[in-house]
């Protein structure tokens, strides 16, 4: 069975992120191994491979969800499409993870408010409105498992686990949602190893009392401007069902 190294000689790093509703992340990698050996980046419904050259993952990225078959709904507005995206994201959260569910709910509400802050100048305002930018928001990869070791046949794969992460094109923002659970040694050891070995990783821990606050509010204070103003550097808003050619063109144009 072919395997690949995470780190190349020049410091180029492929980070394998398994996410969504999965029971065994190793099976996801093994299942896709043949295809993966031909690629250095991808985004599928439960796997992402990122490196320094990978553009950030946004809601409008193809691959994470099949929105073409979103159901027998007339998608006649951006808000309807966003509702479908919202449901797709929710479908990747365990029903037994209240903290992740409430964080994602608050995040999606938050970005709806954020887009109202965008100034759109002519002639764009004749083509787009503010709400169209919503699909440029960062894509949450829930129940994140990041492969932490060399891929080889000799030992079981090991993964560092987080409640979710975002890939912004510069950093993998790994989010720990405060829990009252005592962290176990093996979990902490893997997180420490990842932090030490992968320069792309930044860990954000949001305390339990913030998560459990009764008012439904996204904890934006834990995120920087690049995260909050996700439209910066982009030329036009793109929807999630974009043709691949368009997607590639504007991806190349974006400022990382």
């Amino acid at each position: 069975m072919g395997r690949w190294s995470l780190c190349h000689g020049d410091g180029y790093i492929n980070t394998f992120i398994i996410y969504g509703l999965i029971t065994n992340p190793e099976t996801v990698i093994k299942r896709l191994e043949t295809d993966l050996s031909k690629q250095t980046e991808c985004l599928t419904s439960n796997l992402a491979i990122v490196n320094f050259n990978t553009s950030g993952f946004r809601l409008n990225n193809p691959g994470w969800a099949d929105l073409k078959n979103a159901g027998p709904i007339n998608i006649d507005s951006t808000s309807t499409m966003f509702e479908i995206v919202r449901e797709k994201i929710k479908s990747k959260i365990s029903p037994f993870s209240k903290n992740t569910n409430s964080f994602i709910r608050d995040y999606l509400d938050y970005i709806e408010v954020q887009v109202t802050k965008i100034n759109i100048s002519k002639p764009q305002n004749e083509l787009f409105d503010q709400y169209d930018w919503i699909f440029s928001a960062w894509l949450p990869l829930t129940h994140t498992h990041i492969l932490i070791d060399e891929l080889n046949d000799k030992k079981p794969m090991e993964f560092a686990e987080f409640d979710l992460c975002y890939w912004t094109g510069q950093k993998i923002l790994c989010i720990n949602l405060g829990s009252s659970s005592s962290i176990i040694q093996s979990k902490q050891r893997k997180i420490d190893y990842l932090k030490k070995s992968n320069p792309l990783v930044e860990i954000i821990t949001i305390p339990k009392n913030i998560i459990l606050k009764k008012e439904k509010k996204f904890p934006s204070e834990f995120f920087d401007t690049d995260f909050k103003e996700f439209w910066n550097g982009l030329k036009i808003p793109l929807g999630p069902n974009q043709p691949p050619v368009l997607s590639q063109y504007f991806s190349d144009q974006s400022i990382k």
Binding site: T23, P95, F96, S97, K98, N99, S179, S180, S181, S182, I184, Q185, S186
Partner: protein, 410 residues
């Protein structure tokens, strides 16, 4: 069984409690203001009341206190400590005997516990308190008979009572609840026995009485009850004087009864329910620990059970085999996890499960020591387990083995 079976657990110390190694269903950890760590241990039966074990160095534990019961016809099977207050349950072996109830001790000087209050539940139909829960310093939740409670069936005698202990010298009952139909005079019919036993045996298993009652600071308006053959109950206790049923779930029958612990995992909307094994040689197999989907607390749905080792391997080794006490995520110097579940399974020892996927709980560690000397049965009978905030596991053998101190490598 002569050798230890273990996986990802290592014995740090073993203390037979001065030859009184029968451990009941109570273990609680106190950290004194001087940093001393004292594990308070309830005993399965007389002559000892409770033992204080200095576990500051978990590799070198030592008894610093061991007290005597008032007489030999009673036991103190359960205890809890909050801050420097120790609550001890007194249960008697014959109806009407005393002392039966709850005693509070000031253990700020753990070598010299001082009694600061007693609440009696003695009465003509009462055996006193079997189990108690005390984590907020204000209320003790007990499974007990009461002076004014007459059960229709002699074994339905322990009901849920909430005792206000804010003034230890004047404790008072502020609320109670019992399974409808179990009290003389109830309009509901007496619940049908799951596996009827002779009426002359007071300790028989076919009972609709309370075992554990858990109330957590995350939901002070909810009590989670293990009501033996009655199954699991969630009560609304926002008005303590009038508890009301929110929901009820029971696998009995066809399963053979004795719901013991009902433990919610609040961040995951899950509930664990253990059914205690009460018969030797797997006569009441299988005694399971159930995982319930509690997203809708009014409609609890079983989704899995914690996997037990093969009955053909453990069922006839001697003694009991199956579920019993769980580490209960109580507040204080206590391990808290909604993914790692630790339980005492009698002759299957202490077992640790990963519940990350609640549909498929996974055994990740266990420790099964040899049967202790002077035990009534040839196997270990792990009866109780407590895990501290550092992940050190304290487990007690029911008959003679005392306390086993372990660390987990998980």
């Amino acid at each position: 069984m002569s050798e230890t079976l273990s996986k990802n657990m290592r014995l740090l110390d073993h203390n037979t409690l001065g030859g009184f190694g029968g451990v009941g269903e109570g273990m609680a950890l106190q950290v004194t203001n001087k940093g001393k760590r004292v594990l308070w241990i309830a005993h399965e039966g007389p002559p000892k009341n409770f033992t204080g074990l200095d576990v500051t160095d978990p590799k070198n534990t030592r008894i610093i206190c061991q007290t005597e019961l008032k007489h030999q016809n009673m036991r103190s099977n359960s205890l809890e400590v909050t801050g420097d207050i120790l609550a001890v349950a007194y249960q008697v072996y014959e109806l009407g005997l005393e002392p039966a109830g709850v005693e509070l001790f000031d253990v700020s000087d753990p070598e010299n516990p001082k009694s600061i209050g007693f609440h009696s539940t003695a009465g003509p139909h009462s055996r006193g308190v079997h189990c108690l829960w005390f984590v907020d310093g204000e209320y003790v939740h007990i499974a007990s008979g009461a002076p004014d409670f007459t059960p229709r069936h002699p074994r339905d005698d322990q009901i849920y009572q909430i005792i206000d202990v804010r003034n230890p010298s004047k404790m008072e009952e502020v609320g109670r609840w019992w399974y409808p139909g179990t009290r003389e005079g109830d309009t509901e019919p007496l619940p049908e026995r799951i596996i009827p036993e002779p009426l002359d045996e007071l300790r028989g298993g076919d009972a609709f009485r309370l075992h554990n009652s858990n109330v957590y600071p995350e939901r002070p308006d909810r009590a989670y009850l293990g009501y033996i053959d009655g199954g699991a109950f969630i009560l609304d206790i926002s008005n303590k004087s009038k508890p009301e049923v929110v929901s009820h779930w029971s696998p009995h029958n066809p399963y053979p009864g004795f719901t013991h612990t009902v433990m919610p995992l609040f961040e995951r909307d899950l509930i664990l329910v253990s059914d205690e094994c009460i018969k030797d040689d797997a006569e009441d197999w299988p005694k399971l620990t159930w995982v319930l989907d509690a997203r809708n607390e009014k409609n609890l749905v079983p989704i899995s059970t914690l996997p037990l080792p093969p009955v053909e391997e453990f069922g006839h080794k001697g003694g009991r085999f199956g579920s019993h006490n769980l580490h209960e995520n109580r507040p204080g110097p206590s391990f808290h996890s909604e993914e790692i579940i630790i339980g005492a399974f009698f002759n299957a020892g202490i077992r640790v499960y990963n519940l990350r996927n609640p549909y498929q709980p996974e055994l990740i560690a266990y420790f099964v020591p040899p049967g202790p000397e002077n035990s009534r049965v040839p196997t270990i009978q792990m009866n109780e387990v407590y895990v501290d905030e550092n992940g050190i596991v304290y487990a007690g053998d029911r008959w003679a083995g005392g306390v086993y101190v372990m660390e987990m490598d998980i």
